[in-house]
Symmetry: C2
Subunit: 518 residues, 2 copies
């Protein structure tokens, strides 16, 4: 372990406490902490938990947004442990699954708003852990704050390899159960700097944590703000009037805001009760632009890019590298990206393949799933399970999740790619492309389409869609036939239920055990 040349997140915190001792790190309700004070609290938390949490152990967070989430991340960094911020919007059975899957040594939980659900989780889980309530500012026995007030003995400093995981985030479950992506110290540090570079975050940044911190994109802005010596302002829920008040009172320069919330804020602040000129915003409606400071930077002009939880968030950004043909922009300076075919060979510009990535931000692996980890990391690249394309100018386009691969003759057809082309036709409202077994070609491509209006001549409409594909795709990717339906079956989460479409329309014969999303 070459600690001279490799810093971990605990080093970052210690340097922040040394370099920005009096700078405000955290505002959360009545609580205000400088970086020096934050480091003192982190030290107390780490000491108090050290008997319960071994190197590699997990600390599960079952709460809403709170500064204690950031504090616990740094405490876990010091203990060589892993913080798991669960999605508090999940149902009790889902959270129970997360608890059973994570096997935490410590669970830090919240009574307000979540008490009943968490009681169910606690009753249902098979895991035996230390449960600490975080929202008990009185610090009664057994609460998180009681722990912080205690004076546990100093512990021997653990040597923490920056390649070790320190944060675990559950990814969206396309199929089966969600998996926890393990993110390393080195990955988070690299991503902090990349995020700061792209989004223009510095020591002056005051970030209102109004987005859910169990999502990696939101959390990385929080962590990057801290890493640069800025200030994080927390609020448990995103309530428009409270957001206006906090932005005004704390002079916030950044926030996570969606259009419906912005509309409500415009409405509530008609009379100019709150001064939120401090907020550096992307351009929106006239009334909004007059209320805030519209910033003209590559990021505010074109926020976004391509990323996933397994990559600590964005691996490309539209703000990087200037104009681009590709809608996902160009890679982070700390990432390497390739578009590959199923055999791992790079495909030429303009062709669609799987996006694979190398760099510090790639996850260490999935928690407790060596097989999926090995599959994702084959050939020394992180395989995203997403389809993309390198454009002629070198920029990248995220095409869609790979979903099931169709094999027709020797060729690979990704349904997502064909669906994207079909969806661009005015006749098509919704579409699902499936593979149908064929004795000669192994599979044929079939499109199952919901039309935008009544279709009088089904054969002619089908031909038109097939020709549309022929004009826009390699010929072998076009559907052999088109089936028009009234609607497509959906899963509980609202996605198209591909298994049900297959069952109803003759789909099957897909290649490989790992043909689907991993």
């Amino acid at each position: 372990m070459d600690l001279l040349h490799n810093l971990n997140l605990d080093d970052v915190l210690r340097e922040l406490a040394a370099s920005y001792p009096e700078r405000t790190a955290i505002v959360d309700g009545d609580i205000r902490l400088t970086y020096r004070e934050l480091e003192v609290r982190v030290d107390r938390v780490a000491r108090a938990l050290s008997e319960n949490v071994a190197s590699g152990g997990r600390v599960l967070w079952l709460g809403q947004n709170s500064f204690r989430l950031l504090e616990l991340l740094f405490a876990c960094a010091r203990l060589d442990a892993v913080l798991v911020p669960a999605n508090w919007r999940m149902s009790a059975p889902e959270l129970t699954y997360v608890c059973d899957d994570t096997v935490p040594s410590v669970v830090v939980w919240q009574k307000e708003a979540l008490g009943e659900k968490i009681a169910e989780v606690r009753a249902g889980t098979s895991v035996s852990a230390l449960w600490l309530r975080h929202d008990d500012p009185g610090g009664r026995l057994g609460s998180y704050e009681a722990l912080v007030s205690s004076t546990a003995k100093a512990i021997p400093q653990r040597l923490v390899d920056p390649a070790n995981p320190v944060l675990a985030m559950y990814t969206a479950a396309f199929e089966g159960r969600p998996k926890a992506a393990l993110l390393s110290h080195a990955g988070l540090i690299a991503q902090n700097v990349a995020v700061a570079l792209v989004q223009g975050i510095d020591h002056d940044y005051v970030y209102l944590n109004s987005g859910p911190l169990f999502h990696v994109a939101t959390f990385m802005t929080t962590l990057s703000t801290a890493h640069m010596g800025g200030t994080n302002v927390f609020c448990p829920r995103s309530e428009p009037e409270e957001l206006l008040r906090l932005i005004d009172a704390e002079r916030c320069t950044g926030a996570f805001l969606l259009p419906p919330t912005m509309d409500r804020m415009i409405e509530l602040n008609k009379d100019g009760k709150y001064d939120i000129q401090c907020l550096r915003s992307i351009p929106y409606k006239q009334a909004w632009n007059e209320m805030v400071s519209v910033y003209d930077t590559p990021w505010t002009r074109k926020p976004g890019g391509y990323g996933q939880t397994e990559l600590c968030g964005l691996a490309t950004a539209t703000a990087i590298g200037g104009d681009s043909l590709g809608k996902s922009g160009r890679p982070s300076p700390l990432a390497r990206i390739r578009i590959v075919d199923p055999d791992g060979h790079e495909v030429p510009s303009g062709e669609t393949g799987e996006i694979v990535v190398r760099g510090p931000m790639a996850m260490v692996g999935y928690h407790a799933d060596a097989e999926a980890t090995e599959h994702r990391q084959r050939d020394g690249w992180h395989h995203t399970g997403d389809l993309g394309r390198r454009e002629e100018d070198g920029s990248l386009t995220f095409v869609g999740p790979m979903a099931t691969l169709i094999k027709t003759g020797a060729e690979n057809v990704y349904p997502a790619e064909v669906e994207a082309v079909l969806a661009s036709h005015p006749l098509v409202a919704e579409v699902c492309v499936i593979g149908v077994p064929d004795p000669t070609w192994r599979q044929n491509v079939r499109a199952v389409v919901v039309a935008t209006g009544p279709v009088e001549d089904v054969a002619a409409a089908g031909t038109e869609l097939v020709e549309h594909c022929r004009a826009n795709l390699a010929s072998y990717k076009k559907p052999k036939d088109v089936v028009f339906v009234e609607s497509l079956p959906r899963t509980g989460s609202g996605r198209i239920d591909r298994d049900a479409v297959d069952a109803a329309h003759g789909g099957g014969g897909y290649p490989g055990t790992h043909g689907g999303i991993q």
Copy 2:
């Protein structure tokens, strides 16, 4: 070697060629190369040199500024070799020493302006290497360009650990011979991103390479510009009219310019012959400000910071972290810094000690000097051999080189610290603080001073200076006596010759074999 999570400089180049294929990477005289073309040339150079240059081998550059220096760095990255850009201003004996010390497999040299000197080096060195002249665009047999035109067979890709060195830079020699600091792929990549963050370098940056590339600070701006997908414009020497022409023609946004050059450029461009509004400049004289675009950023307001060759350049920047009491600002987000006493213990804020650093930018070590490397890297920190102070607000001040340590009683006194205080007194023009052997205290502190004017009462003046020190320093650091002299002896490079001052004024008895600069 975890190559999934760790990129080397060859990865950076390959990604640049993929992401910015048509972007102009290089302009040098008649030569213009896109990133795709640069990568093709690098590949040819690497192939052609692969038989001569083994993993860990050195390539010595004996030339002025040229795009081939950057090209060779990337070729060395691909070959797992080390590029050594020598200071072409050195004398033939000095360059011969560098050649003998480096033991290069290949020397790439320049005939124009340096031909005679290099002939001496070639005759004097004991090293047997492949010598390739780079400035022979005709590409005659045995020239560098002939090599690039050749079509050597593809070579098996070498696995290059990013922790390996890829660049060696000779550091200033305070004592004895200069040493080559070995800088790693990981260090350069981290520094590229930190430099981009602090200096605001992006894909739009067009950097005029008008500073000497054998200095790490200049070279890091070049490399950061390349890493971000910007354009590097090269010129062999810094000639004001040519700089004006290049800035205008290539729309340069950045350049390395010193005030005398800027004055000359103002003079030459009185009639507005050249349009250099594209240049983003720090504010200077009125006439200059009207000619360029004065940028108001933390970096243009306060450029600079603390750094050294062994740290890939700046480890702190005045532009980082806002206002600061310390004149060197705050650390790079990728560095950790401590101020320590000679036993390695951190000293409190306000006290002077040695600056020690951890982070990817710390050198791998010195070339062929394991003892000095071990000494510099003791306790898992890079020891800079420089004195600094952490101020109350967490910011840092570089005090001066440690030079010789004086031991008086149990206390350590750094001459540089006492000299800085004495130099602030109006009586003092120049000063050298030495240690004088003492049977009781081991050493006493003596100040040897050149006064700003005639000193009538030597005793009173001495007392005044001692009192000035007592008011500004711990009492044990004040000189026990002050000697006034007409002038101080200097070394060939213009530094105060401490050995000569010691010899003339009774200095000696300094502690430790490593008391001096290493």
